[in-house]
């Protein structure tokens, strides 16, 4: 579903817009004059039709509620070219990250990979478990065989504080 389809029935919501703006601290979203430098250099445009300028425009107009439930916000590759090239420092990347946070807060659909990473961090401290590598010559090697230091599990005090940090909401 394209963004425009999502918007056909949409109503602007200033409260959600204020939330995103507050999250952007110093990133001048309202200064966007739609020069489309972000979209013309966007890595995800070719592949997944991400148009950062449209997202910025919609947020500026207050059409924020539909975006967190759209898959489009999860197509950003975070290559940061849009942040680098934006002449107005409106930084679509940070807008997209804000929308992703909003999606989590609204309990919209979040790609499983992210949910997995968070539970993995809580459990082991790392976002992914150490793997065994099968080499080109079919040897199976892990950290111990390679004489790399052992990875310790995190202390319980870390888990408690991390849980607390995850409960923090967008103001």
């Amino acid at each position: 579903m394209s963004l425009i389809d999502l918007m056909s029935m949409a109503k602007p919501n200033q409260q959600s817009r204020t939330k995103i703006l507050a999250k952007l601290k110093g990133k001048e979203l309202v200064n966007c004059f739609q020069c489309m430098k972000c979209t013309s250099g966007c890595t995800a445009l070719k592949l997944l039709e991400l148009k950062p300028n449209e997202i910025v425009k919609l947020v500026n107009l207050g059409f924020v509620d539909e975006l967190p439930s759209s898959d489009i916000i999860w197509t950003c590759v975070t290559c940061l070219k849009c942040v680098e090239r934006c002449p107005q420092k409106a930084s679509p990347y940070h807008v997209i990250m804000g929308l992703r946070n909003l999606a989590v807060e609204k309990e919209a659909k979040v790609p499983e990979g992210f949910l997995k990473a968070v539970s993995q961090i809580l459990e082991t401290g790392l976002a992914e478990p150490p793997q065994k590598i099968v080499t080109r010559k079919m040897e199976t090697l892990d950290r111990t065989c390679l004489k790399l230091p052992k990875i310790k599990s995190p202390k319980e005090s870390f888990q408690a504080t991390f849980m607390k940090a995850m409960e923090e909401k967008i103001e």
Partner: protein, 291 residues
């Protein structure tokens, strides 16, 4: 010189070759690495879920570095380097977030230190060690080796944050390659992204991004492609075969870490540099250099 080091998840979970080659090569230039204790994720995957929690995790890395008493930290992963640098910037600009982060750190008796300098492998070798020292240390000059460099995205962007090199025309990695006697060629796809960040939401698209860059690199008639980020190596080396299928190409591009190539030029044994772990065809490159 002693420097703290934070490896991050990707290196410690599967990109062992980067860890091995950094551990082998840096001591050659009198750099002693001090591993941080009780490290966790840098916060990058959490950023999409809850930016505050990501800032806390990244600040925690710097707080752990503070415990070592050292003023410098090496973060060899592009993504971790960006996340930690951005958190440092947020804490500097936003006192409210800073206060909350410091309170959480205090619960683990940790203290944030804003004066710790964050290094990446590239600027550590280029700016701190210096090209001359590297040139002098080379035992096996790589004359005649054509390479394509891939510096990655988050280590050069975005400039306002203070990154290690020019965002649109990064040169440091190329100069480091030249210091080994090899040639780093220019090519149109040089700044294209590897796609790794899409692995969590659109893994197929991630592969086709990596595949299309590799396909372009393959046509350049080069000896190897060089990277300095575990995520990029994961896409271009570990997943090269899968990436090839998404763009309808049989890919055979040797992809190595810069520190692996550096190690070979310094005369270090290839198994110590983790070259047995590379999934791309690196045999020819290794035998050629070792003669």
């Amino acid at each position: 010189m002693k420097i703290a080091v934070f490896w991050g998840c990707c290196i410690q979970a599967n990109q062992y070759a980067y860890e091995m080659s950094v551990r082998e090569t840096l001591p050659e230039f009198n750099i002693e690495l001090v591993d941080l204790q009780d490290t966790t994720c840098c916060g990058d995957p959490v950023k999409s879920m809850n930016e505050f929690a990501a800032t806390y995790l990244a600040a925690r890395v710097l707080a752990l570095a503070n415990q070592t008493g050292l003023d410098n930290i090496l973060v060899p992963c592009n993504r971790c380097h960006f996340t930690i640098s951005e958190a440092k910037d947020t804490i500097k600009r936003d006192p409210k977030t800073a206060k909350k982060v410091f309170e959480l750190l205090k619960e683990e008796e940790l203290e944030f230190n804003p004066n710790i300098k964050i290094w990446h492998t590239i600027d550590l070798l280029h700016d701190l060690v210096g090209l001359d020292k590297i040139k002098k240390a080379v035992k096996k000059p790589l004359k005649g080796l054509r390479t394509a460099s891939h510096v990655g995205c988050q280590i050069v962007r975005y400039t306002d944050l203070g990154r290690i090199d020019n965002a649109e025309n990064p040169k440091k990695l190329d100069e480091l390659i030249a210091a080994l006697g090899a040639e780093s060629i220019d090519y149109p796809e040089k700044l294209d992204c590897c796609g790794a960040a899409l692995n969590r939401s659109h893994p197929d698209s991630a592969l086709s991004l990596a595949g299309s860059k590799l396909k372009a690199v393959q046509s350049l008639n080069i000896g190897c492609m060089l990277v300095s980020c575990p995520d990029c190596q994961l896409m271009f080396d570990s997943k090269q075969k899968e990436a090839g299928t998404t763009v309808g190409a049989k890919l055979n591009v040797p992809v190595v870490y810069y520190t692996q190539l550096l190690g070979l030029a310094l005369g270090i044994d290839d198994r110590k540099l983790g070259l047995q772990l590379n999934q791309s065809p690196v045999e020819e490159l290794v035998t050629k250099i070792q003669g």
